[in-house]
């Protein structure tokens, strides 16, 4: 169960940082779980489903790399099982109908992530929607009307389990292009659905700020080593920083609290130490009438509150008082 302003559901985007090595992939699952992430997300693509022959003809080396980095469907299923054994959810981004089926039917993915590049691929969205599992839809590169159409397409296919992610499809984006306020804008436009943030920036700040804006889901790329050659290692986050991000997001969500102004018990206790109480400014005798210049306020706050000083003027002292001592209710009349 995810929702705006709730504890954010944190997704570690593994992408292809495992470079096609399942042992590295398992280490990444371990790292994501240790960092406190709720989900580890892979990419289901194969060389065939990701790029066309036209692209590979122009970029033959890419085909070799994509083939090398891709996990087979069976390997993905193993990763799903391994993730579950480590107590972390598993999902993936599919790039073909076959990959969608495999994720849902064989990997039991609790949700399907749809990449920004597929937001306007309506036939494909319809197919995914009909699988009946929740859809997390990234909205990078999309105009609002395109997002509306994508959402309508999914709804009309009978699926109303949608989470929209604000996303800038630049890796990494300049800070002035991130526009986190889009989270608020998406929420206003789609009040029925939780809104999250797919963070491609360096550092933890954007995820934390998104959490403060009530993001229901935070997605962040994970790598074990940023210096390694890979598709997105240059903008991915290493485990230590991922843990820092998760911790910061959780603390931020807790700290955001509510708009209602309430002085809690702990602060009321603090009040006794930190607020001021009324004192007399000079040695005084019983029977003297208090004047404003006889009174001041100092810590601690265990006596008559400072806000009552003016109400004490004209009262009579019942006892002798030493200068700079707290006045008690029972000592005046």
């Amino acid at each position: 169960m995810i929702g705006d302003y709730m504890r954010p559901y944190v997704v570690a985007e593994v992408n292809s940082s495992h470079n096609g090595d399942v042992e590295v992939a398992k280490q990444m699952i371990d790292a994501a779980a240790a960092a406190g992430c709720d989900c580890v997300k892979f990419q289901s693509w194969s060389a065939e489903s990701l790029y066309s022959a036209t692209y590979y003809k122009a970029n033959p080396i890419s085909k070799r790399i994509v083939k090398k980095f891709a996990l087979t469907q069976e390997q993905l299923r193993d990763m799903a099982a391994y993730s579950r054994s480590k107590g972390i959810d598993f999902s993936s981004t599919p790039y073909s109908r076959e990959e969608v089926d495999w994720l849902v039917d064989e990997c039991q993915a609790p949700f399907i992530k749809v990449a920004s590049m597929d937001l306007n691929n309506y036939m494909y969205l319809r197919y995914i929607a009909k699988k009946g599992v929740p859809i997390v839809l990234s909205t990078g590169m999309s105009e609002m009307e395109e997002i509306r159409k994508a959402v309508r397409t999914i709804e009309e296919a009978g699926n109303k389990q949608i989470c929209l992610l604000h996303c800038i499809s630049i890796y990494p984006p300049e800070f002035d292009t991130i526009h986190l306020q889009n989270i608020v804008g998406l929420r206003e436009a789609f009040p029925d659905y939780p809104i999250g943030f797919s963070d491609h920036s360096h550092g933890v700040e954007m995820a934390v700020a998104a959490t403060a804006l009530g993001a229901a889901l935070i997605e962040k790329h994970l790598t074990l080593d940023r210096t390694k050659i890979g598709m997105d290692n240059q903008m991915a986050t290493e485990p230590e920083e991922m843990k820092q991000m998760v911790d910061c997001c959780i603390r931020t969500q807790i700290a955001m609290g509510s708009k209602e102004r309430v002085v809690r018990e702990a602060e009321q206790e603090q009040m006794k130490k930190m607020r001021r109480s009324v004192i007399v400014t000079r040695d005084m005798k019983a029977g003297e009438v208090l004047r404003l210049e006889d009174l001041n306020a100092k810590r601690p706050g265990t006596g008559i509150p400072a806000d009552r000083i003016e109400t004490l003027v004209g009262k009579t002292l019942m006892v002798d008082k030493e200068a700079d001592t707290l006045l008690e209710e029972t000592e005046i009349n």
Binding site: N19, N59, P60, I61, S62, R64, I65, K67, K68, R226, T227, K228, I229, G230, M231, D232, N233, Q234
Partner: protein, 69 residues
């Protein structure tokens, strides 16, 4: 070849590491690999492609394919 691919001075090439300059990102790496393969008429193993993280490492890897410097 590094200098030509990345548009840098030859003096900058020694000790150069992946991501040390803006041009040598994942896309630049593919361009570099293509240039090396074309120049030496070799086809590198993908493990070597993703292991080629510095100029010196590239020399070491290319040497495996019988290229002498």
């Amino acid at each position: 070849m590094f200098a030509e691919t990345f548009g840098i001075e030859e003096a900058q090439v020694a000790g150069l590491k992946y991501q040390a300059i803006e041009q040598w990102d994942s896309v630049g790496h593919m361009t570099l690999v293509a240039a090396i393969e074309d120049a030496f008429e070799i086809e590198m193993d993908t493990d070597d492609i993703i292991d080629m993280s510095s100029f010196e490492k590239a020399q070491e890897i290319v040497a495996k394919y019988g290229v002498a410097f």
